[in-house]
């Protein structure tokens, strides 16, 4: 039996914005099925640009993106967007429907799921983030932490191959931050999280990538990367005050 294709394979991805600003200069990365990987990098490194390529919002100027073996192309967009679940930073952007139920149903309904099956998907997804009880509430009546979790549920309902989170821990209080970590750890899905929260990356992801200046500048075990003070400093990354990471014994 042949091995399943990796969840995500990006090769030689380059992109320049229409105004000529080059954001990516040839990104190569592969994320295996079931991995949890952190994407680190300073502001302006091209993280958001890279994320926008993963589900075809932006199309590659050069190079390819493949999700579980399927290349991102115009004619594969619908399936690509099912396979890649993007969780945006501001849950108010992500949750645009009048009730939680309708919001979680939006993705699968666009895929043509209806009736009992749709109901089941919505409930399962909310169960996975522990928020089944808010199903009939309007999103703006939820706490910020709850909204972030519902945002995760909206992509889980599409049964994605990989979920991509943009700054998942931003604006969360410590308890919500921990609860979200527990949820992410419990999911049986490939995770790529874009973050500046280095302790969070260490807590959740075995492996980290540093995107800097539009290329992958480092790729390795999170612990090793965070222990390398010179590497971090070279890419404007810093552990918070009072934190120190010791490298993994090899």
């Amino acid at each position: 039996m042949s091995k399943p294709p990796p969840s995500l394979r990006v090769s030689e991805l380059a992109y320049a914005y229409p105004d000529g600003t080059q954001a990516l200069y040839g990104v190569d990365l592969t994320i295996g099925r079931g991995e949890r990987v952190a994407l680190l990098g300073p502001n302006g490194a091209g993280k958001t640009t890279l994320v926008m390529h993963l589900n075809g919002i932006l199309t590659a100027g050069h190079g390819t993106v493949e999700v579980a073996g399927l290349p991102v192309r115009k004619d594969s967009l619908a399936e690509i967007r099912r396979r890649v679940g993007l969780v945006f930073q501001d849950p108010d952007d992500q949750l645009f429907m009048p009730t939680v139920r309708e919001d979680v149903a939006f993705g699968p309904a666009n895929l043509g799921v209806r009736g009992f099956e749709l109901d089941l998907r919505v409930k399962e997804a909310l169960q996975q983030v522990g928020l089944l009880e808010v199903i009939d509430r309007p999103p703006h009546h939820l706490s910020f932490g709850q909204r972030r979790r519902v945002a995760v549920a909206t992509v889980l309902a599409m049964q994605p191959e990989i979920i991509v989170l943009d700054e998942p821990s931003s604006n969360l209080d410590p308890a919500s931050r921990r609860e979200l970590a527990e949820i992410l750890r419990s999911l049986d899905v490939t995770v790529l999280m874009v973050t500046h929260d280095l302790p969070y990356a260490l807590e959740l992801c075995e492996r980290s990538l540093i995107l800097s200046g539009g290329v992958i500048a480092a790729d390795g075990p999170t612990r090793d990367i965070l222990a390398d003070a010179d590497l971090l400093a070279a890419h404007r990354l810093e552990l918070p005050f009072g934190f120190a990471v010791t490298p993994q014994p090899h």
């Binding site: 945006f88 108010d92 645009f96 009048p98 666009n110």
Partner: protein, 254 residues
Amino acid sequence: MGAGHTHQLYRPGDTVVHRLPPHCKLPAVAAFAVVVVATPREAFWAFGVYALLLAAVAAVARVPARFLLRRMVIEVPFVVFAVALPIIGLGERVEVLGLSLSAEGLWSAWNILAKATLGVVASILLAATTEPRAMLLGAQRLRLPQTLVQIAMFMLRYMDVILDEMRRMRVARESRGFTARDVRHLPVIAKSAGALFIRSYERGERVHLAMLSRGYTGSMPVIDDLRATARNWATAASLPAAALATAVLSWSVS
């Protein structure tokens, strides 16, 4: 501000009127309004019957008169216009309480006031017995233009978010010692409004991205398939039907 804001018009309840599917109520109210407008203004008694019909609906829906009256404030601009008509109107003059008024103006004022009031009360009753969300589902079901329904839906969802941003901007202004006291402060308020507009526009773009990411292709998937029985339709139709019978009578009498 806050949670209750978007639901000021809705009055929760569990009456026959509340339970009627929204896509039955919407056309019923629209048809009622058309019948009212088509009634000759001379048929005073017909307008009395219409008012009684609405009173009956209000009674069934348990919407108190005070609730209705408070929300009728929205009609004030029309009232002002109607009051002006007899004074500025031309043609034959009549003496009323020592004032010389235009007869044609009086008729027009009565026409506008009576018909507008009936229309406004019918709409308030509709809004009071139908959740805003249900109203939109009804509109979607009736195949009203998608774009309009979606705009209304986003307004409903983001009203509180935008009001909240507005409040934060006010707090930020006031924290730096600004309070709007007179017209000279208008430019500051105008700039805040501009900033709010840009922020909302940018949010719109982000929301659109989020929608695309979840497979949006231009139309909202219909998730809750609303169904109405023949009985629902018959119940909803009773209001415009009774009004139509009245109108037909008024045409044949006049």
